[in-house]
């Protein structure tokens, strides 16, 4: 399916039908009150230097669901997801305000150790970034450093199996991970992230550097793994969000009077709702391809 672009003659209704058709497998979500919250985000604002990248985001992320964050380039999707595991702390001049509760604990506070936060909230990045080590050591290194050394080989095998990579690499575990294809490298990065048994896995456009088949493999993984982990996935690919996500947040760009711009959350709802009956005009324009 090709992505609908600006100026396409496709009518709104047919595009929306397309989006729905991809989603036939989906089971209806229970009402939101019955879902367990992982993140409770209130009025989150992220600032680089003096420029706000993101303003006033309030939303919840639920356990064992895939939550997609979609929106045009520059809308602060990546900034948002990197707030969730304090990855932005590494950027000089970064500040954030608002509350960011993780299972009820505010993890944005100064007294919270970002290393401990990242330990339970793992991350997979846009470009596959395996360590220049062997395939085995890529998964085992984190386990060793974090003291999960019992049954190391079993843990490595389990993680690689969960990431649907085991059958492809079982005979060459000692070879360099850099020899793998891009898609395999990204699945290795997922194996590396889930090997240390995180609670949440954040994915920042995990398939944007991959071909369609590798992308499909990653999406399949999300379906299979969401019983065990909660996923937050940033993507600029709406079809991908429609295929994998239970909940979808649409971010957009706001412009101030003096030409400054920042990202903000426009609408957050069940994926089906976002793609079939969005309540905000901007969301509708975006998912039907009239904008972005």
């Amino acid at each position: 399916m090709t992505s609908p672009t600006k100026g396409d003659s496709v009518s709104t209704s047919s595009t929306i039908e397309n989006a729905v058709r991809v989603e036939t497998k989906r089971q209806p979500l229970p009402p939101r009150e019955r879902l367990e919250q992982v993140f409770d985000i209130q009025d989150l604002t992220a600032i680089y230097g003096s420029k706000p990248a993101l303003k006033g985001v309030s939303m919840e992320v639920y356990k064992n669901l895939v939550t997609a964050v979609i929106g045009p380039s520059g809308c602060g999707k990546s900034t948002f997801i990197r707030c969730l595991n304090r990855m932005n702390d590494l950027v000089p001049g970064f500040r954030q305000t608002g509350t960011l509760r993780y299972h009820g604990v505010d993890i944005a506070g100064k007294d919270v150790d970002p290393v401990a936060v990242r330990r339970t909230i793992g991350m997979v990045f846009q470009r596959p970034n395996p360590f220049p080590k062997s395939i085995y050591d890529n998964v085992a290194w984190g386990l060793r450093v974090l003291g999960m050394k019992d049954n190391l080989s079993d843990r490595v095998e389990r993680a690689l199996t969960q990431a649907a990579l085991w059958d492809e690499v079982r005979d060459r575990l000692k070879q360099s991970a850099l020899g793998l294809s891009g898609g395999q490298q990204q699945r290795l990065c997922i194996a590396r992230a889930i090997a240390v048994e995180p609670d949440v896995v954040l994915m920042d456009e995990p398939a944007s550097a991959l071909d369609p088949i590798a992308t499909q493999a990653i999406e399949q993984l999300l379906h299979e793994l969401k019983d065990q982990y909660s996923f937050v996935i940033v993507t600029h690919n709406m079809q991908q969000a429609a295929r994998v996500a239970d909940m979808t947040a649409f971010f957009s760009i706001s412009r101030g009077a003096e030409g400054d711009r920042w990202g903000e959350l426009v609408e957050y709802d069940a994926t089906e709702k976002i793609f079939t009956a969005p309540s905000d005009k901007r969301t509708e324009d975006y998912v039907t391809g009239r904008f972005g």
Partner: protein, 301 residues
């Protein structure tokens, strides 16, 4: 394009001709400058080798300078004690400068806030620019005045010279390590220092060795700091670093002041060995640097 314009292209006017001549002239000047640099090195190597030829033999590495040179013909003498001393002094200097230099670089590149980072870079540049003789007299005042001369004092002086070289080289290779690798490790919940030791440093070993080798090559020929710290030496082969030990640059300096031609030849031979050592280490460093850069940029997989 009209016919007139086309024919103008074929018939260069004065301005075009002038530009072409200027271009040629600049090219020639640049080529000449490069040729002079290469020729200088060739002339230095050749003249040093020629003058030292008579002393370039096995005795050079097994015997020590003889007091009889100049009085007795064909006296057998060499610079064994100077070579041993240089190895000891430069070796200890490397042992001091390498870990400190690497730690400074790690702090600057991995931990320091931006302001401190540029401050330390400036300090390293200034340190790198301090004349060797100033370092020599500084160590003289600090150590030699109270504790007397020793190879250790000489090593300390040389390590001050090596420190900025090692640090700058290490900072450069650390900066080449892609930040995505650090993020991958930090994203697993691995502390920063484990990330640095386990992921970042192994990537840079080649570059660090290159910096160390260049620094060794640089200080192996330093004379001034050793004049103050390790120059009152015996004529024996000695390894004890608490004594002042002879060194190759000092030997060259002292022997060239003697009036016997045998001593002069010995000085030239010492200079030749030093020159060859520096050439070989520089080439090794280049080779190592290229190799590690290829590895880091992933050009060869």
């Amino acid at each position: 394009m009209s016919a007139a314009e086309l024919s103008a292209l074929q018939r260069p006017n004065d301005r075009l001709r002038r530009r072409r001549i200027a271009n040629r002239a600049m090219e020639l000047l640049a080529w000449l400058a490069a040729a002079i640099a290469v020729a200088l090195l060739a002339i230095v190597v050749w003249s040093v080798a020629k003058r030292g030829a008579s002393a370039l033999n096995i005795d050079l590495f097994t015997k020590t300078p003889s007091a009889l040179a100049g009085f007795v013909p064909n006296v057998q003498q060499g610079l064994a004690n100077a070579f041993v001393g240089s190895i000891v002094i430069v070796g200890i200097a490397t042992l001091i400068a390498l870990p400190i230099g690497i730690l400074v670089a790690i702090y600057v590149n991995e931990f320091a806030p931006r302001k401190i980072r540029s401050g330390i870079n400036l300090v390293l540049d200034v340190l790198n620019g301090i004349p060797a003789i100033v370092i020599g007299i500084f160590v003289f005042g600090l150590i030699v005045v109270t504790r007397g001369q020793s190879a250790l004092a000489g090593s300390f002086a040389l390590s001050v010279l090596m420190l900025p070289l090692v640090s700058r080289a290490t900072i450069e290779v650390l900066a080449l390590v892609p930040s995505s690798l650090r993020e991958a490790s930090l994203g697993l919940g691995v502390p920063r220092w484990r990330t640095t030791l386990g992921i970042v440093l192994p990537q840079t070993i080649g570059g660090i060795v290159t910096g160390a080798v260049l620094a060794v090559a640089r200080v192996a020929g330093e004379t001034a700091p050793l004049l103050f710290t390790s120059s009152l030496v015996s004529n024996q082969i000695e390894w004890n670093p608490t004594h002042p030990l002879y060194s190759v640059p000092l030997a060259i300096y002292e022997l060239s002041e003697q009036d016997s031609s045998a001593d002069h030849a010995l000085a030239w031979a010492g200079a030749f060995v030093l020159l060859m050592f520096i050439l070989v280490t520089s080439l090794t460093a280049r080779w190592l640097a290229n190799r590690s850069r290829r590895k880091l940029t992933g050009a060869s997989r």
